[in-house]
Symmetry: C2
Subunit: 143 residues, 2 copies
């Protein structure tokens, strides 16, 4: 039997949290949890304005995601479930190998090919139905 | 005006994921995501059987939580929302200071005093309504 391609998850990259108002949420995380906002950007393709926050000295970040429109993925999530945890992202060294390895194991990826994520990373998502109800994101950071 | 007590979050401790069947979920995470199960235990007070899994070389863990009964917190979560992400835990050095700091900032904690968590840690939880819909756990590891 052929060996499966290693999926190669390196660590938790970030937890993505859906919020209605990005600036309010950033101020809350900074003031209440002492987080540090290290990056913000808009991703029109994903329909989000987002902020990356560091907690203490940790590697794993909090990604706050606010919808650009009600019919975006995050807009629809908030309408259905309210604000809260929406995704769990893992860092990979090689997203093409990670996706191949997952497909070999019968796991479906949402995109045929990776798309642009935060800070020009390459990202794909696992179908939550194939990951115990968790929307899993795979992130290969830009070099 | 008096200075507020620093809350002192050190890093993401773990993401807690509700699962119906712990052994099946551990096998899935090991086989599909290459995770390593480093600890399992039962916490009757919390109504869970749980496993802690390391992803790659990361500090932040995945905590799989299976209900000991349908009317436990995790049992009710799965009945209402299905399996998936249920909590987001942060490591603190001093949970008493962390809880005091949060209360000073108007955030409610679920327990008056911390309770026993994984591996004899001391834990408390923030009311999700005071944390943007996220069930936040604070974890002071046992020394
Ligand atoms: Co993300
Ligand atoms: Co926990």
């Amino acid at each position: 039997m052929a060996t499966l391609t290693p999926v190669g998850l390196l660590r938790i990259d970030h937890v993505g949290i859906a919020v209605a108002d990005l600036d309010e949420a950033v101020a809350f995380y900074e003031g209440t949890f002492g987080a540090t906002c290290v990056h913000t950007e808009e991703n029109a393709e994903q329909g989000v304005r987002e902020a990356m926050l560091r907690i203490g000295e940790g590697d794993s970040m909090i990604q706050l995601l606010a919808p650009l429109s009600p019919d975006s993925t995050i807009g629809k999530f908030i309408a259905k479930r309210g604000p809260g945890m929406q995704q769990l992202a893992y860092t990979v060294a090689d997203i093409d190998a990670a996706c191949a390895g997952l497909r070999e194991r019968g796991v479906r990826l949402i995109y045929d090919e990776p798309r642009r994520g935060t800070s020009n990373s390459r990202v794909n998502f696992v179908h939550p139905a194939d990951a115990g109800g968790v929307l899993v994101e795979l992130v290969q950071p830009a070099t």
